[in-house]
């Protein structure tokens, strides 16, 4: 028997206080990781937890251990392997829409990913700055036209990355309602397996039709170029397009809204940024670290026995790397529970780590830098328009953030 076939399940945690994941956050500070998971960093950095179906997995919580696991290909990203930890039944159902490279290992992962690396490289994305800036200014113009309040999510934080990813992919922005709704279902921890399956099918069907239409009318978007490349079927292009579309929407949009809220909650930090706009680049890294919107961990499954932080993780056992606790690890980020826009936060793992690290991160950085800088510059009187206690946080979503953010200026 090879080690990869050995799938002996972990004993289910029997202690009454065994951690259940997704773990609930404390009512005090909605920006902090769940207290149970945060405690693990000091008490038992590699610890066991229970998933929704009663199965057990490991939580890896410290910065150095998270980097070890995510950097080691003996921890597989292949969601078809037994033992792979899913956060919900709906999460497992996402596989029904076709596997994307984020849930595959090399060499297949590298082959598919490399078809896209040129589109997201730093130089290419930096060249988009003027266009992204123009879109940001237009959205603010429209939002403030004759009004003194708005929902920052629907009027700014969501449309900005949505417009940009549609442009990059060659997807008509007029259809944004259609794919934003399906994207929300895919990422909701409350969605049933059935709902996820339907949303998947619809989204993939939509993108397959789109890919087919590019054969007749090619443009310079990514979908069109993948069609012209001729290496992937329309279904495969649609699956890849779905990944980019969902990732492009949900991540930057939530980082923008949550960052705005975090700055409004830390007026000294906001004042610091206003006084010194050159701090914006570093501040965005710090916001990525502090907020870490992939808040339930990055899943892997061991294919061999590997020692991590003094514990042996056996072949076939699931692992969740809680990057939000890694990003608060005091050994790497002293005073890390506080937001400090002047901190050197570049070693954060908010984009993950290892060969699966976020492909779109240069684009996310440009969008976030422009979004934060533009909001601060154009809306000097920006404030929250409801009590902080009434803000609806996305505890129920795979990507953390806020469902809406009523603001005034």
């Amino acid at each position: 028997m090879t080690t990869a076939e050995r799938t002996a399940p972990l004993d289910a945690p029997d202690a009454p206080d065994a951690l259940a994941v997704p773990a609930a956050r404390a009512p005090g500070c909605p920006f902090d990781p769940a207290p149970g998971v945060a405690r693990a960093v000091h008490e038992e950095p590699v610890t066991r937890a229970t998933l929704w179906d009663g199965s057990a997995c490991w939580l890896v919580t410290r910065h150095q251990d998270v980097r070890q696991v995510l950097g080691d290909q003996r921890f597989s990203a292949d969601a078809h392997l037994p033992g792979f930890p899913f956060l919900t039944a709906g999460g497992r159902e996402i596989l029904s829409g076709g596997t994307t490279f984020i849930r595959q290992d090399d060499p297949e992962h590298a082959r598919l990913r490399r078809m896209l690396t040129a589109d997201f490289m730093v130089k290419k994305v930096e060249a988009m700055r003027p266009e992204v800036q123009r879109l940001a200014d237009e959205l603010i113009d429209r939002m403030t036209d004759g009004r003194t309040s708005a929902d920052l999510v629907t009027d700014f934080a969501l449309p900005l990355p949505s417009l940009v990813i549609c442009l990059l992919l060659g997807v008509p922005y007029e259809d944004h309602g259609y794919f934003q709704e399906r994207s929300r279902i895919l990422l909701s921890l409350r969605s049933t397996a059935e709902e996820v399956r339907t949303a998947q099918l619809e989204l993939v069907a939509y993108l397959t039709r789109l890919a087919e239409s590019k054969r007749e009318r090619p443009d310079d978007g990514i979908v069109s170029r993948l069609v012209a490349r001729g290496e992937l079927s329309f279904a495969e292009i649609a699956t890849m397009g779905r990944l980019l579309l969902v990732a492009g929407h949900e991540t930057t949009a939530n980082m923008t809204a949550l960052s705005t809220l975090a700055l409004l909650r830390n007026p000294d930090q906001l004042a610091r940024l206003r006084a010194e706009p050159s701090l914006v680049k570093g501040a965005v890294e710090e916001l990525l670290r502090y907020l870490t919107i992939v808040h339930n961990g990055v899943p892997r499954v061991a294919t061999e026995d590997v020692e991590v932080g003094g514990r042996t993780i056996r072949a076939g056992e699931g692992v969740l790397c809680t990057i939000n606790t890694a990003n608060r690890d005091e050994d790497v980020f002293p005073g890390g529970e506080a937001l400090d826009v002047t901190r050197d936060a570049r070693r954060h793992v908010a984009f993950g780590f290892g060969v699966h690290q976020c492909l779109g991160q240069p684009l996310a950085r440009v969008e976030l830098q422009i979004a934060v800088e533009t909001l601060i510059r154009r809306l000097p009187g920006l404030r929250l328009d409801i009590p902080f206690e009434d803000v609806a946080f996305r505890s129920d979503m795979a990507i953390y953030g806020v469902h809406s953010l009523p603001v005034a200026w």
Binding site: R113, F120, V122, K123, G354, Q357, C358
Partner: protein, 64 residues
């Protein structure tokens, strides 16, 4: 200081370019790392070490 970047390992996420733009770049066709200056001046050594530390694919190695 001598830098080696492994193009096989590189996953093209560009962190090195942001950390040390005078030393690293990405290939036009596929976004894979290229080293612009394999023996950079001392003033850039810290930035290069930072680039090696944040490279997610452990593709950058540095020898003194």
């Amino acid at each position: 200081m001598r830098i080696h970047a492994d193009q096989e390992k590189c996953c093209g996420a560009g962190s090195c370019v942001l950390a040390a733009p005078d030393v690293f770049d990405q290939r036009e066709e596929d976004g894979i790392v290229v080293v612009l200056d394999a023996e950079p001046p001392a003033a850039l050594h810290d930035a290069v070490r930072e680039a090696a530390a944040i490279c997610p694919a452990a593709a950058i190695s540095v020898s003194d």
